[in-house]
């Protein structure tokens, strides 16, 4: 069933995963869907292709290992589950069984960031750092629910593994009209153009970055928002271009540890390519076990909410140009 929507509406990314997999199951008879007891949204696929659906129960490690076994034999397995457990319990299977032989296993899941109010065992906050460390792994983090479908479709022709990170995936803001942006794995999306500073971001907080840019526009600030939905391989050229076009004023906002995720990857590009920045601020989760609370409250409490995003953006814009002695 095709998904219908209107721009700006809420849509469940999980339902997009469900319908996209059911659609891809038709065109790819080697597509398998596996889950460790998190299959509620996979019903359509399960009913259409029961012989290519596997729910192993509470067994994340076996789930990823089995997926790798299937992939060795020419199948395209998608493992769908909760990311804290797929990225950590099954990490070695992901690394040695999937990434090492460079198999086309797709790992897609929810609970990336301080979302869902499950407490510290249930937030994947280190996952992007872990996944980016793995040779051969492509790493994505997606906020726009429709983009999830697009990325899944594109991933079908990839030779190696991909990690697809979502927030809760029940109620997601539709950020982009279809066709509005050229969505390509490995390329960033300029979600909003601007010239005073760039906010780099990914996943569920892209909406927050766009809102910050909107509020700053009210006092005459022109802020660019770049959705770096592919953290690895990262769009280096776009980063360099943003340094040129927005006076080297960067803010990085992410629902992930502030060190080890997108901010770190951008800092690496900046250092490796010798890009001159005027100011660089990172907004993300500090090194704490965050506790309970709803998403927005937790972001505010831990210093990467909307207010903090606006304040940081103002600070980088206020920073004198480099080199300031001129």
């Amino acid at each position: 069933m095709p998904v219908t929507f209107t721009f700006g509406e809420m849509l469940s990314a999980r339902s997009v995963i469900g319908s996209t997999l059911a659609e891809l199951g038709e065109t790819h008879d080697n597509l398998w869907v596996l889950t460790p007891d998190i299959g509620a949204t996979l019903v359509e696929f399960r009913e259409k292709y029961p012989e290519r659906f596997l729910d192993v129960g509470l067994a994340e490690q076996a789930c990823v290992g089995i997926a790798a076994g299937l992939a060795y034999d020419g199948n395209i397995p998608v493992v769908s589950g909760m990311l804290p457990f797929l990225s950590m319990r099954a990490l070695e299977q992901v690394r040695s069984d999937v990434c090492y032989p460079n198999l086309p296993v797709k790992i897609i899941g929810t609970h990336g960031g301080l979302v869902g109010n499950g407490g510290s065992t249930h937030y994947a906050v280190e996952d992007l750092a872990l996944m980016c460390a793995l040779t051969n792994m492509t790493v994505t983090s997606i906020g726009d629910p429709l983009m999830v479908g697009e990325v899944l479709r594109q991933s079908m022709t990839m030779r190696g593994p991909i990690y697809i990170r979502l927030a809760v995936g029940k109620q997601d803001v539709v950020l982009y009209e279809p066709g509005e942006h050229d969505v390509r794995i490995g390329k960033g999306i300029v979600a909003r153009d601007g010239t005073d500073a760039t906010i780099f971001t990914h996943g569920t907080v892209v909406a927050q970055a766009l809102q910050a840019a909107e509020e700053l526009a009210a006092d005459g600030r022109s802020v660019r928002v770049v959705d770096v939905f592919t953290l690895k391989p990262i769009d280096e050229d776009l980063i360099a271009q943003c340094a040129d076009e927005t006076h080297g004023r960067f803010v990085v906002l992410e629902d992930h540890l502030a060190y080890g995720g997108l901010a770190t990857r951008i800092a690496d590009v900046v250092a490796d390519r010798g890009i001159h920045l005027t100011a660089f601020e990172r907004l993300g989760i500090p090194q704490v076990y965050a506790g309970f609370g709803d998403d927005e409250e937790l972001r505010d409490k831990h210093g990467y909410g909307l207010g903090a995003t606006i304040a940081a953006t103002r600070r980088v814009i206020a920073q004198p140009s480099w080199p300031s002695s001129h």
Partner: protein, 291 residues
């Protein structure tokens, strides 16, 4: 031999009193499920309510006023998603304030949330919620007690679905290898995971035999029969014996509320005001049935 620390003195409640407390625990759970705006893991709370009652009001040697006494029994909630059932059972034993739980559950900086957080809630023994962690932790604590010559027990409650995790069986093997007679696992055998019934996609049976094969002392009971729970606790082998014990408790997920029983939709959910009334009526009715 167990020594007579403060918590050993005084009369323990009768089976009837325990049944009343289990009813109160279920009522309080439903109340939270009807008033809290988010989802509550009510299915697995209700299946474990009698086990929690038997443990916190009868079996465990714990003292709410002395939560770090080194000789206390340790309780580990491996199926951490039943946290609120544990909070309320413990509040009824004097550990926490029930009002505090109801007023702050799931809120920012609350000590009470979806999964137990030891950092914010002293009195719980470990932060759990990611399934498959409790039994290895319990083995560590039991080993330590053994090494120190202490006579307390370490008790761990697991979901049946949870025992799909390899770490459970790694710990089961270690427990037997190290002759940890001071370790007791209770399994909430409600025959449901989150999205399927057991035996449907994942075959668990012959379930008690799996534990037997790992060398454990296996006790099989109806996990809603309070007298049976009390008997299982009374008849536990001494803590200085050499085999860990597992009590496989046959239960019903959603027990006590007819529309939640055996219903995958009620792994977790929330009741509105109207459904809360309906659930309370169902709970009353099911109590009448069993009397």
């Amino acid at each position: 031999m167990r020594d007579d620390a403060a918590w050993l003195t005084g009369d323990r409640p009768s089976v009837t009193e325990l049944e009343d407390r289990a009813f109160e625990l279920r009522s309080k759970l439903l109340h939270l499920c009807g008033t809290y705006e988010g989802a509550v893991h009510i299915g697995g709370d209700l299946s474990a309510a009698d086990i929690f009652t038997a443990l916190f009001h009868y079996g465990l040697r714990v003292d709410p006023h002395d939560i770090s006494n080194p000789r206390r029994d340790r309780f580990l909630l491996s199926k951490g998603h039943a946290a609120v059932c544990m909070y309320i059972a413990m509040s009824m034993r004097g550990f926490f304030s029930y009002e505090g739980i109801v007023e702050t559950y799931g809120k920012l900086d609350s000590a009470y949330g979806m999964h137990p957080c030891k950092v914010q809630l002293p009195g719980v023994e470990a932060s759990t919620g990611s399934l498959g962690h409790g039994l290895p932790l319990a083995v560590g604590m039991a080993l330590s007690a053994r090494g120190r010559g202490e006579s307390h027990r370490v008790v761990c409650l697991l979901g049946d679905g949870e025992t799909g995790e390899g770490s459970v069986w790694e710990a089961a093997m270690a427990a037997r290898s190290n002759e940890l007679g001071n370790l007791v696992a209770f399994i909430d055998r409600n025959r449901q995971l989150m999205t399927s019934f057991t035996e449907e996609r994942v075959v668990f049976e012959p379930y008690p035999d799996k534990w037997r094969a790992f060398g454990w002392n296996v006790v099989e009971i109806d996990g809603h029969d309070m007298a049976a729970l009390v008997k299982a606790i009374d008849e536990l082998p001494p803590a200085d014996s050499d085999r860990p014990t597992v009590v496989v408790c046959e239960t019903v997920k959603g027990k006590g509320v007819d529309f939640m029983e055996h219903n995958l939709a009620w792994h977790a959910g929330s009741l509105g005001a109207a459904d809360l009334e309906r659930a309370m009526a169902a709970l009353e009715a099911s109590r009448e049935e069993t009397v």
